[in-house]
Amino acid sequence: MTDATQTAADAKRRDSASDFDTLAPSPRELMRRRACSHWGLIIGLSIIAIFLLVAIFAGVLAPHDPYAQTLSHRLADPVWGPKGSWNHILGTDALGRDVLSRLMYGARLSLYISFTAALIAAVIGVSLGIAGGYFGGKIDSLVVYIINVKLALPVFLVALSIAAITGGTVTVMILLLGFLTWDRYAIVTRSLTQQMRDQDFIMSSLAAGSSHMRIIFRDILPNLMNHIIVIVSLDMAVIILIEAALSFLGLGIRPPTPSWGLMISEARAMMFFKPHLIMVPGIAIFILVMAINMAGDGIRDVTAPEGRG
C-alpha cells in the first residue's frame, strides 16, 4: 500500500469516528440538554438566584434601614391597602419598621444560615460516611453507631433545648443546625462509598500505589458530588424551616434582627387585623423552600436520571 492510500484510509477512519461522536453526545452535553429542558430546575434555580441577588444586594435594594423604627408610623398599610403608599410597599410592622426592607435582610439571614449550616453538616456527614464506607470494619461499626445515635435524637426538640440554654445568636444557630442535620449525608455517602470501593477504578488506583487520601479525594469524592449537592439543597430547605420555627418560638434569632421566623412570630398578634404581616414572610419562606426543593429534585434528575421516581 502506498503512502497516499494509507493517508486516505486514515482520513476515512477519522471521518467515520467524527460521525460517531456527533451521533453520541458526551455525558456533559447530555446533562446540559437535560438541564435545559427541566422546567423544575430552571424555575427553582431562577427563584434561588433572585433571592440570592436580593440577599447580597439588600443593602442597596432595601428602601429603608431594617432596624429604623418610626413609632408614629406603625402598622402602615401595604401599597395595595386603603392608606398604602409606595414609600412602604409592604407597609410597616408594629414598631413602624419597613416590612419590605426587613424581608430583604431576612432573606440574607435565612440563606446565610441555611447555606453555612448545610455546609457544616455536609463536611461532618460526608467525612463520616466516606470513612465508614471506605475503610469498613471497626471504623464502619463506629460510624454506624454514631449515625444511629444521631438518628435517635429528635432534631427539633434538641435544637429547642440548646437554643433555650445558649440563647439565639446567628453563630449558635449555624453550629446547632449544622451539627444536627448531618446524618443524611453520612447515610448516603457511606452506602455509595461501600458500592464504589470494590469497583475496578478504585482497585486500579490502589494497584498503582495511590494513597487512601488520594483515592478518597480524587476518585470517590468527585463521584459523590452530585448526590451531595442534592442533599445540600434538601438540607438547606429543612434548615430554613427549623430556623424560622425556632425564631417563631422566640428561641432563634434575637430581635430586632430581621428574620422571617421572627417576623411571623411578631405578626401573629395582628393576624386577624393585618394578615399581610404574617402572610408576606410566610409566602417568602414557602417560595424559597419550594424553589430549593425544585432545584434539588432537578439536579438529581439531571445528574442521575436513573434515580428518578
Binding site: W80, G81, P82, P255, P256, F272
Partner: protein, 511 residues
C-alpha cells in the same frame, strides 16, 4: 387585595355579630379566659396574677385598699388601731358565714396567719408576712398582730393577697396545697363549684355574702366560668364567635382593633402596675459600660418614653409617664427629680464623652408582657449607636439570669404585688441577692424607710431615694401599665381596681 381585606373584615364583623347572638347575658353567666394553666385558687400556694382574681372572689381579706380614695376600707375587720409601733389591734365583723354555713371567728384569722408565717408552710412569697411575730385572739371577734419591728406597710400587706381561710376546712388537709383545688371555701362574694385544670373554674354567686360597703358589693352576675385558653389568638377568635365574654391582658393593637366592632369593648383599668428599665450599675454583667453613670444617663436620654406610651403601651389616657418606680396611687410614692429628658443628640454626645463614641453591644432582657416594649427601646438605642439585642425570657429564666448577675439591662413590668405602698419597690434595694444595684445610698434609704412609722417622714425618705435613682440613672421608671380588658359590649367594668391583673368579679355587671 382590597377586596380580600374587606372580605376578611366583613367575615370578622359577621362572626362578631352572629357570635354575640349567643352571648351569655341571658344565662347570667360570664365567661373569662385565663392564659396560664389553672391549678388552684389558693394565692398563698400559687401567687400568680390570675389566681389573685379568683382568690379575691372566693375569699375575703381583713381590709382592702380603695385606690379611688387612697384609703384603707374594712372587709372582715371592721376597725383597726395601731396601739404601738409593733402592735396592731383589729375588730372583726360579726355575722359572717363561710360558704359551707359555718361562722367566721377570730380563730380563723389566727389560724390563717399562723399558717402563712410558719416557715414549714414553705410559701413562695412567705417573706411578705415575715414581719409578723405573732397573732393572738383577744376575743371571739378581735385579734392582735404583733410585728417583729415597726412595719409601716403592715396595713397595706393585710389589704393585699392575704385572704382568711376557714380553720375547720383548711386544717383538715394533710397537704395544705389541696385546699385551694378541692375545697376552696371562703367568705367572699362567689363560691367555687369546681376547680379543674382542664375544665377551668366555675364560680357561683354567694347569696349569703355580707357586703362590708360599696367597695365590695354583693355579686351582680350569677355565674363566672373561667376557661383555660393559653393562646391569645384563640381567645380573640372565641370572643369574636361568642364563646367568651372577657379577655384579660390584651395588648394595645388587639384591644384597639377589636374595640372597633360594635359588639366588643375595651376597658382600661387603673392599677399599681408599671413599666421600668433597670441597668447593671454594679457592673456585674459582661457589659461594664453600664457601671458608668454617664452611659446610663445617655441611655435614659435616648429613650423616648412619651413615644412608647403613645405607641406601644395599652391603656390610652390612663397611661402616665412616671418619675418614680411606683405608681401615684401608692402610699409614699413621690419624687422631685425627674429622669433625664429625652434628647438623642445630647445622649450621643454624653456617650462619646464617656468613651463610647461608636456605642457598644447591649443585651436587653425582657419578661413576658414587656417584649414589644423592649424591642422598641432597642430600636431607640440604635439611634445613639448602641446595638441592642433583646433576650425574651420566661420569668424563671429571667430570675436565673438575675441571680447569676448577668442582666445588663432589663425591661420589665412590676405589679408591686398589688401592694398599695412604695415600700414594695424599696424592698429590692435591701442589701442581699435581690439588690441588683448594690448602691450604698439606696440601701441606707431603704433601711431608714422600712422602720419609719410616720408617713410624712417616710415619704420624705422615699423622695430622696427616688431622686437618687433618677440622678444616678440606676433605673428608669417608664410609665403606668393599666390592665386592659377586651369584653363583650354587654359587660360593664369599673375603671379602677385594687387588683393588678384585672378587676374584682363582684364589680362586673351586665349592661
Amino acid at each position: 387585595m382590597k377586596k380580600t381585606t374587606k372580605a376578611f373584615a366583613a367575615l370578622i364583623a359577621a362572626l362578631a355579630i352572629t357570635g354575640h347572638a349567643y352571648a351569655q347575658k341571658s344565662k347570667d353567666a360570664l365567661r373569662i379566659a385565663f392564659k396560664d394553666p389553672i391549678s388552684t385558687t389558693d394565692i398563698y400556694i400559687d401567687p400568680k396574677p390570675e389566681t389573685s382574681l379568683t382568690a379575691e372572689a372566693i375569699f375575703d381579706k381583713l381590709l382592702t385598699y380603695l385606690p379611688s380614695e387612697n384609703a384603707f376600707k374594712p372587709m372582715l375587720a371592721t376597725s383597726w388601731k395601731q396601739v404601738s409601733p409593733v402592735v396592731l389591734e383589729l375588730q372583726l365583723r360579726k355575722g359572717v358565714k363561710f360558704h359551707d354555713g359555718k361562722p367566721f371567728t377570730a380563730d380563723d384569722v389566727v389560724y390563717t396567719f399562723n399558717y402563712i408565717i410558719d416557715p414549714k408552710s414553705k410559701l413562695r412569697f412567705g417573706r411578705n408576712w415575715g414581719w409578723i411575730k405573732s397573732v393572738e385572739k383577744t376575743g371571739d371577734f378581735s385579734v392582735r398582730i404583733t410585728s417583729k419591728r415597726p412595719t409601716p406597710f403592715a396595713l397595706a400587706r393585710l389589704a393585699t393577697s392575704t385572704p382568711i381561710y376557714p380553720k375547720h376546712v383548711h386544717s383538715k388537709f394533710e397537704k395544705r396545697g389541696e385546699f385551694g383545688r378541692k375545697a376552696p371555701i371562703g367568705t367572699g362574694p362567689y363560691k367555687a363549684e369546681f376547680v379543674d385544670p382542664s375544665r377551668g373554674i366555675k364560680l357561683v354567686r354567694y347569696d349569703g355574702y355580707v357586703s362590708p360597703g360599696p367597695w365590695s358589693p354583693k355579686a351582680s352576675i350569677k355565674t363566672i366560668l373561667i376557661q383555660p385558653m393559653p393562646e391569645l389568638q384563640t381567645q380573640i377568635a372565641q370572643l369574636m364567635t361568642g364563646g367568651l365574654d372577657v379577655i384579660l391582658e390584651a395588648p394595645k393593637d388587639q384591644s384597639e382593633q377589636l374595640a372597633q366592632s360594635p359588639t366588643v369593648k375595651s376597658t382600661a383599668i387603673k392599677n399599681t402596675v408599671y413599666y421600668y428599665a433597670n441597668f447593671d450599675a454594679a457592673g456585674r454583667s459582661d457589659q461594664k459600660a453600664l457601671a458608668n453613670r454617664d452611659v446610663r444617663r445617655a441611655i435614659v436620654m435616648a429613650i423616648n418614653r412619651q413615644a412608647l406610651a403613645d405607641a406601644v403601651i395599652a391603656g390610652g389616657k390612663l397611661v402616665e409617664l412616671l418619675d418614680t418606680p411606683c405608681t401615684p396611687s401608692q402610699v409614699a410614692c413621690k419624687a422631685t427629680v425627674s429622669p433625664a429628658k429625652f434628647d438623642p443628640k445630647a445622649a450621643k454626645a454624653l456617650l462619646a464623652k464617656a468613651g463610647y463614641p461608636n456605642g457598644f453591644d447591649l443585651d436587653i432582657t425582657s419578661i413576658p408582657g414587656a417584649h414589644e416594649l423592649a424591642e422598641a427601646i432597642a430600636g431607640q438605642l440604635r439611634v445613639i449607636g448602641i446595638k441592642a439585642k433583646v433576650s425574651r425570657l420566661t420569668i424563671g429564666a429571667y430570675r436565673k439570669k438575675q441571680v447569676a448577675g448577668k442582666l445588663q439591662m432589663l425591661v420589665s413590668h412590676y405589679s408591686s404585688g398589688g401592694l398599695p405602698d412604695a415600700s414594695s419597690v424599696m424592698a429590692f434595694y435591701q442589701a442581699g441577692p435581690r439588690d441588683y444595684w448594690r448602691d450604698k445610698q439606696m440601701q441606707k434609704f431603704r433601711n431608714e424607710g422600712a422602720g419609719e412609722m410616720d408617713e410624712k417622714k417616710r415619704e420624705a425618705i422615699y423622695i430622696k431615694a427616688f431622686n437618687h435613682i433618677n440622678e444616678q440613672a440606676l433605673a428608669l421608671p417608664i410609665a403606668t401599665h393599666p390592665a386592659v380588658l377586651i369584653h363583650s359590649a354587654d359587660v360593664t367594668l369599673p375603671s379602677i381596681s385594687s387588683l393588678f391583673a384585672g378587676v374584682e368579679f363582684n364589680n362586673i355587671k351586665w349592661k
